[in-house]
């Protein structure tokens, strides 16, 4: 059977490629269409009007429009992981193998049991749920809400990961033109010919806008021919970029526009290596909104049946897609535009049942009947339109048989993007429509129907003029075209109608608007929220105005006094994948690797995410089956002999200049002015509010040269803070800063044999004996025969230890060298876990203790804060609340029973008494198993902790179901006198 034979509603002509025959499936049934079809046009061609069900009442739904404003023909496109819920059939391009299914219906779109809601609609009026489902109290969540939730939503997610790729891009232009209808094309011609960089973007897959749908002449030729010729000229201009399938979705600050290009949505699947969609950020010098207008429907009883659609959409189906929605069609109009549809349909051989015009003065026709002063007062047809009931001018009733009804209530300029920066549209009484208001996004102008200029000539002319005015250039010659706009007057709804749909997707009727008003929901925002008017996937593009008009009439106000709700981006819904682009999976954040990463990988290291860094967490060896075995071994081996840990991720900031010491003295709360060259000092930085910000070391390599280290997590913020102090507080200080975190690979070499190991690689002219290079010394040295390096004698583990830094490119080699030379000492590499164990054993604070709420006083470093100088944070650190008698103090805890677990995050309670917040004594910040102690240990902040050594307390962690008895100890579990690190 040929496609043509099944396409019962296919006409001659149109812009489809009849040479191609595309097979597709809807609700499991096979059909054919042509390239150039949308899913909606192809289904209509095949005689299918019923495409879905509405949200609340599950009423049958077919297309209302032929564009992106569609509220009704919403389907799930594609299968499996590529399933796309809530896709508008009116914009989905047909492709070979397309599959789609209707939504929000069970068992089928033709027989949907939830349509029982329609019969119960009297009980489901606007706001009904706020008044009910409250008895008994427990039933809401157990009974009512689950039922309501089952009914929620339209389409369903596949529950599978989106298999397609998305991308992002940036474009710059002198002029962004949004919409490629007559005004957009003329604007592009004008600016393009003048050599401006132009982007012309249109959501459609073909350029031309309304010109593609109209049977009219432009420049003395068929509109389509003029369009083709114009597009050809624009394509030939290297300075003009034509972007089809591209929706400019939002107008953001300073001329930045978001646009989504649907690169592959018209294909069965994206071509290899191609994204599905691209999110463009377009930086536009000027912008012209040429987005046209959207026809508005009329509300009348049962105006929602499949087959009832906008008259202009009908014209698009007939002229562009060569499809009639039915063999016999009626038109209901309040303006001349409806007559154009009738004429176009008639010209294509479609039978016109009648044109029903609300006006008494109407154009007449020799070809079909025109009922002047008549109104459609009801319709019939269970799953699609079969009859319309018309009240004629003389009051008599008449029933017309028809399969489709075109409705035209005039046009609304598409002002959406003009309001994205909170501008409000202005009321134009002549058009009975909102037009762009006075406050547009900076750089934006509006042309064509979007500006309220509803004639074709007006659009062509205002497009050319708009671009010419924007740049002070010559406008392109405007071709001849019809210059009288279709007259339009306000006709919002048929008197006396009740179940007349405004929002067809959300099932908001005239009755609901009236009820909302009756209950005091009188502002447009209240109306919207109470009735859900305009909250569906189309955001009320065809429904909001009707609701406003009715609200205004009831309130006895003008429509402009009622106002509109706020237009918000996006213009049409945007897939979340496109907004995320490539930033997902392992690409979600950049991954920073240390210079020894690949060496560590060879050694079988287990890695852990530390911010964006990957760090070796531990290095398992053969026979180890649990991470604790590896970590305990690394700790013991380091404390027994020597271990090496990559600490490259610590922030490193080079501070140079004559005032470097003064500068650091301002930054650190402890004194730095007199630090000798060749020495390192531990430093604590406070925020200006007196809370500890970060700690680290600063080594003085020369009179005017310091190297500051920060914690891994705070490298960025500390650098930013230092630049603030330098530029904003000490602008004349002779200080230069540069972050060198990535420039130096740095390794901690720790343990009693650390010096011996280093002596094997440090060049002989450098004496690193304890006498020549004591604890807290630093120096520029060379290693391995001339490689420049920095050596710091600092210890995080409490052992004799050094940190050695070499330029990053030598990091891998240095690590391998240390391992090789260290073999005789049974050197081990250790990871962040062993590092953590050793620093807890030594009682060093880290991120868990420097948590942004702790002071130097809490950390037991209160005496470090110099009273002799001003530094950042010292003044506010003296506030009473930060220095109370029972302030938290950092201490150690260990379990009374060796096998008991210390839980980080557990809270401490007195040995007896209640366990509750009122009796909370503090909390454990860090915990680890200490091979040295032979049990778990923890660091904790405890009220007056320093005065409670030896006290027995309870460590409770109800959320992990544990309670153990602990003893308060010094935080220094290992070598409290510090003899080892000075050895």
């Amino acid at each position: 059977m040929s496609g043509q034979m099944t396409q019962v509603n296919r006409l001659d002509g149109g812009q489809i490629d009849r040479g191609s025959s595309l097979k597709f499936k809807f609700d499991g049934k096979s059909f054919t269409g042509h390239a150039g079809d949308t899913l909606a046009s192809a289904l209509l061609a095949n005689g299918v009007r019923l495409m879905g069900r509405s949200f609340k009442y599950h009423r049958p739904r077919g297309p209302l429009s032929a564009g992106s404003e569609e509220p009704n023909a919403i389907v799930t496109l594609r299968d499996g992981a590529r399933a796309e819920p809530n896709t508008r059939a009116t914009t989905a391009e047909l492709f070979e193998g397309l599959t789609a299914r209707s939504q929000n219906c069970w068992p089928s779109v033709k027989f949907d049991v939830m349509a029982v809601n329609d019969a119960a609609s009297d009980f489901l009026a606007a706001g009904f749920y706020y008044k009910t489902f409250m008895w008994p109290a427990s039933f809401w969540e157990k009974v009512y809400e689950p039922i309501i939730r089952r009914a929620a939503g339209l389409g369903a997610l596949s529950m599978q990961e989106d298999p397609d790729q998305y991308d992002k891009g940036f474009r710059h232009c002198d002029l962004l033109i949004i919409g490629a209808g007559p005004s957009g094309l003329m604007a592009a011609l004008t600016a393009g010919r003048a050599g401006k960089d132009v982007i012309l973007a249109d959501e459609d897959f073909a350029l031309g806008g309304r010109l593609l749908s109209e049977n009219m002449a432009v420049g003395g030729k068929a509109a389509l021919d003029w369009t083709t010729q114009t597009v050809a000229e624009l394509s030939s201009m290297p300075n003009v970029r034509l972007m089809t399938r591209t929706t400019v979705m939002g107008a953001f600050d300073h001329g930045i526009y978001g646009a989504v290009e649907r690169v592959s949505d018209h294909l069965f699947e994206p071509a290899a290596g191609k994204p599905r969609q691209i999110l463009w950020r377009i930086y536009a010098g000027k912008t012209m909104l040429c987005a046209g207008a959207i026809e508005r429907p009329i509300a009348f009883e049962n105006n929602d049946r499949p087959g009832i659609m906008l008259a202009s959409a009908m014209r698009s189906y007939v002229n562009r897609w060569a499809v009639t929605p039915a063999q016999r069609v009626a038109i209901f109009t309040s303006c001349d535009d409806g007559h154009r549809t009738a004429a176009d349909l008639h010209a294509k051989g479609v039978k016109i049942a009648a044109v029903i015009d609300t006006r008494s003065e109407t154009p007449m026709s020799m070809d079909y009947e025109v009922l002047a002063g008549a109104q459609v007062i009801n319709t019939k047809g269970r799953l699609g339109l079969a009859f319309v009931e018309v009240q004629q001018a003389d009051g008599s009733m008449r029933t017309l048989e028809c399969g489709a009804l075109g409705v035209s209530g005039g046009w609304n300029p598409n002002v959406h993007l003009t309001c994205h920066q909170r501008g409000r549209p202005a009321w134009n009484a002549e058009l009975s429509a909102f037009v762009p208001g006075g406050t547009l996004p900076p750089g934006m102008s509006v042309a064509g129907a979007a500006s309220g200029d509803l004639s074709t000539y007006g659009a062509l002319h205002s497009g050319a003029k708009g671009a010419a005015d924007a740049f002070g250039i010559k406008a392109a010659d405007v071709p001849t075209a019809a210059d009288t706009p279709a007259k339009q007057s306000a006709f919002w709804y048929v008197e006396g109608c009740k179940r007349a749909w405004l929002d067809q997707q959300n099932d908001v009727t005239v009755k609901d608007v009236k009820l909302a008003h009756q209950e005091g929901f009188k502002s447009v925002e209240h109306l919207k929220r109470y009735t859900t008017l305009g909250m569906a996937t189309d955001q009320g593009k065809t429904s909001n105005m009707g609701g406003l008009a009715i609200m205004a009439e009831i309130a006895g106000k003008g429509i402009p006094d009622v106002g509109t709700t706020i237009f918000r981006p996006p213009y049409t819904p945007v897939s979340i994948g496109a907004l995320a682009g490539r930033m997902r999976g392992m690409e979600f954040h950049p991954t920073r690797l240390t210079p020894s990463h690949f060496w560590a990988k060879e050694r079988g290291a287990v890695f852990v995410e530390v911010g964006n860094w990957l760090r070796a967490q531990w290095f398992p060896i053969e026979g180890e089956t649990h991470w604790r075995q590896s970590v305990d071994r690394e700790v013991k081996a380091t404390r027994a002999s020597v271990g090496v840990c990559d600490c490259t991720t610590l922030g490193k900031i080079d501070v140079q200049g004559a005032d470097a010491a003064t500068f650091l003295n301002k930054l650190y709360c402890n004194p730095f002015a007199k630090l000798a060259v060749g020495k390192v000092r531990y430093g604590l930085m406070l925020r200006e509010d007196g809370i500890a910000m970060d700690d680290g070391t600063a080594g003085r390599l020369a009179e005017d040269h310091f190297v500051v280290t920060t914690t891994t997590a705070k490298a960025g913020p500390v650098y930013q803070h230092m630049e603030f102090v330098r530029q904003c507080l000490m602008p004349d200080a002779d200080v230069q800063l540069i972050s060198t975190t990535e420039a130096w690979a740095q390794y901690a070499v720790a343990g009693p044999n650390s010096r011996k190991l280093l002596q094997k690689i440090v060049d002989p002219e450098f004496d690193i004996s304890n006498e020549a290079f004591e604890f807290m010394a630093c120096a520029n040295i060379t290693v391995c025969g001339g490689l420049r390096a920095r050596l710091f004698r600092i210890s995080f583990s409490g052992e004799m230890a050094f940190e050695i830094a070499v330029p990053s490119r030598y990091g891998d080699a240095l690590m391998r060298k240390l391992m090789e030379e260290g073999e005789e000492f049974d050197v081990v590499p250790y990871g962040t876990e062993a590092l953590g164990v050793m620093r807890i054993e030594k009682g060093h604070a880290a991120g868990n203790e420097l948590n942004g709420t702790t002071t130097a006083n809490n950390l037991g470093m209160g005496r470090m804060v110099s009273k002799k100088k001003d530094s950042i944070g010292t003044v506010l650190s003296e506030r009473a609340g930060l220095n109370e008698e029972d302030a938290l103090k950092l201490v150690g805890v260990k379990p009374l029973a060796r096998e008991d677990k210390i839980t980080a995050g557990g809270h401490l309670m007195a040995a007896d008494g209640p366990v509750d917040a009122a009796h909370d004594q503090g909390y454990v910040t860090s915990a680890a198993y200490s091979p040295e102690v032979g049990s778990m240990i923890g660091l904790a902040f405890i009220k007056s902790g320093d005065a409670r050594m030896g006290e027995k307390m309870r460590l409770v962690s109800p959320v992990t179901d544990s309670e153990v008895e602990v003893e308060v100890t010094s935080a220094h579990f290992v070598d409290p006198e510090g003899g080892r690190q000075r050895a």
């Binding site: 600050d253 300073h254 001329g255 930045i256 930086y283 920066q421 900076p442 005032d659 003064t662 200006e688 509010d689 960025g716 650098y719 930013q720 630049e723 603030f724 530029q727 904003c728 507080l729 000490m730 602008p731 004349d732 200080a733 800063l737 001003d870 010292t874 003044v875 506010l876 003296e878 506030r879």
Partner: protein
């Protein structure tokens, strides 16, 4: 948003880190008699107008300069961009 950097020209605001009220440049004199009160006001009471605000932005993804941006908080329109160092000097800050 786009910030017109005085040295580098127009840059996307995503390259910057924001800190707010540029009065943070005017750190009080630590020797003052009312030092506690002054530092409280400095640290905690900031200008928050619905209108023109002078505010600090840090060009983290660029040349690392601190800028003072004059911006309308109702429209986001930027009327002036200065180097914070210059502003600090004009306020009499030195070393």
């Amino acid at each position: 948003m786009i910030i017109n950097h005085p040295l580098l020209g127009p840059r996307d605001s995503a390259e910057f880190v924001y800190m707010g009220d540029a009065r943070l440049i005017e750190r009080p004199d630590p020797e003052s008699d009312t030092v506690a009160e002054q530092f409280h006001d400095y640290a905690y009471l900031r200008d928050n107008p619905a209108g023109t605000l002078r505010e600090l932005w840090f060009h983290e993804g660029g040349d690392r300069s601190w800028l003072v941006v004059t911006r309308d908080t109702r429209t986001h329109e930027i009327s002036k961009v200065e180097l914070a160092r210059d502003v600090a000097r004009s306020k009499g800050r030195s070393k």
